[in-house]
Symmetry: C2
Amino acid sequence: MAKIAICGYGVVGSGVAEVMAENADSIARNAAEQVSVKYILDRRDFPDDPYEDLIVHDFSQIENDPEVSIVVEVMGGVGAAYEFTKRALMAGKSVVTSNKELVAAHGHELIAIAKKKNLNYLFEASVGGGIPIIRPITQCLTANKLDEVYGILNGTTNYILTEMRQNDASFEDALRQDQENGFAEADPTADIDGIDAARKICILSDLCFGKHMNPEDIKAEGIRGVTSADVEYAKRLGCKIKLLGRGLRTGHETATAYVSPHLVSNSSLLSNVDGVMNGIVVHGNALGDTMFYGAGAGKRPTASAVVADVIDAVKHTHARKYLDWDDAPDGYFTDSAYVPSRWYVRANTSLQQIGWAFGKVNFVTYTGAAEDEYAFATEVYDEISLRKLTGGMNLRSLFRILD
Amino acid sequence: MAKIAICGYGVVGSGVAEVMAENADSIARNAAEQVSVKYILDRRDFPDDPYEDLIVHDFSQIENDPEVSIVVEVMGGVGAAYEFTKRALMAGKSVVTSNKELVAAHGHELIAIAKKKNLNYLFEASVGGGIPIIRPITQCLTANKLDEVYGILNGTTNYILTEMRQNDASFEDALRQDQENGFAEADPTADIDGIDAARKICILSDLCFGKHMNPEDIKAEGIRGVTSADVEYAKRLGCKIKLLGRGLRTGHETATAYVSPHLVSNSSLLSNVDGVMNGIVVHGNALGDTMFYGAGAGKRPTASAVVADVIDAVKHTHARKYLDWDDAPDGYFTDSAYVPSRWYVRANTSLQQIGWAFGKVNFVTYTGAAEDEYAFATEVYDEISLRKLTGGMNLRSLFRILD
């Protein structure tokens, strides 16, 4: 019988308790022993909750109970979560988490502690919610040199963009609707501005390329700059606008990552990843492209990934999972502005100026488009060159096209 | 240093040798030790091949060499492959395979032998080529009760259907082209008639539902009955025709599986799985739908999965992977004819007869359609009811619609 403690009884924490109870039989079969929740740590009390009796307010109660072999940290943030994770590991308990902020910022350090103590620090739920992605990268694609990873990593922004396209919703209405559906946070800044996606693409890049990438180093552009006009122009280009996180090797010992809206062709798989769903593409030198799709957030999908990690931790009490990356050497991280792509440009400028800058381009328009602007798709440029060429234009939107 | 033997030096076997050499450094890092090929078993000689010196013709040389800890069986078939797998396991060597025919037919028995000998029998490459699917199901979705699995499991038929739709190719031309590209077998019967997909959906059902399903029990309908007319009608219904394998629980202790062409809506992810690519959807009660996409066949993608299993076997020399299913109890397997769905019907019949049978239906036509037939989509029926309703009609095509 394995006993676990859940730290944080919010959406994910209650999902973990729910899935543990509902699927107890199959979980026991998969873990080869019974797994039960002994404590739930939260500041609040939960009178009349089915797990009311398990609630504790002091982490040391968990820390000092030798019966607890696994701590599930689903509190979020890098304050108490960071402290409790270290204390749990030092006390000889494996830790399972969905906390992307903590993994992206301190994952390397926490894995090192786990390693030293011969424990596991597992974080499948930190990227892509319930989608299996961390384990496939670290266990199934091991025969490959991985050179690129990208995808739709944030459900809230994908929901907003989908609503803008399918139902002509405004950005504000779509966001409000997502909040009402219980997906978007009350303060959606981390989602809308690409910060959440930046943390996730850093974790994916860490695992794919083997070196630590700092979320604070990478350029993260969210979706505040995406207008209904952009959505319409994109349709005429046979594309949908999607917020992508993207990490890629840029040389033998260099890599970069960034987050920004992209025009994605309707014929690509990612274009049908709609609503709150996530989709992640990994490219390896033997396999080519592979994609993973599913619910990137939400109570039960995220709990699905957390509980799978709990089962793995139970099965590997005395065998560490290989899951690690190194510190990045100086010069490892390069500026994403040097990554070439085609571009979608919307600008208040003249045909003459566009001609001078780009020669022939692929113009698009639609009924009702503003009369004082042009929209077009360019050939392949890096961002530095593109900014020079568009220097004299009054730019309204500038997004990469994913080919 | 781990030493392996490759049995079968065909497309996959040579891919394994190639990837092992090309990615030797990263493989050693992932396996935490060097991994090298000591023997390659084949009936033929390969003068001037870079691995000429490793070729052997007698399996007992491998069997009796205690240095070889892992045997890679990529011969195919259930004759020598079956015998060598058993002998390798009895000799204390783990076995890695891409042989879906063998796994579907005798996987349960071979896993049991491996279990008894505390060895691994791994077969990630047997389904979906390079796509990580076996390990995600058995390790990442363990918190879920899985109730359905379906997908595009055969690259050759998907290539043919894609060519028929995109380039108005005939079935015969598309098949010939796929053979010229090196994908389709010289004798494509197992692909075209759904036998290959049947083996794969059985393996997936075995793992998802935990009980053995016999490929010989399930209905497998291939794509010989799909015509250009069907492709055109499907377009007008907003769909593409895809050959799907599908397994689902049909009750508390019952399940079914089948292979047949389906009309798949353009808005679904599977509809953009084109050419030789595969896509597999798994539904779990906590996670909902998740999809896995990638190259389902081919030398290097399949080798990618085989070598990942080799790495896993090296890392788990003394720890068995949990990967198993039970014999099915009597009555476990139910007839797929009872599975309800909407249907696409093409028939030489009268409007009156269609009206009598179905009431209102959704008719489609296109310029150039045959004048002596009607095509339409029905409401939801199981196949038994549907066959009764269409009993008086001269049926030309009858495919399920995936909703």
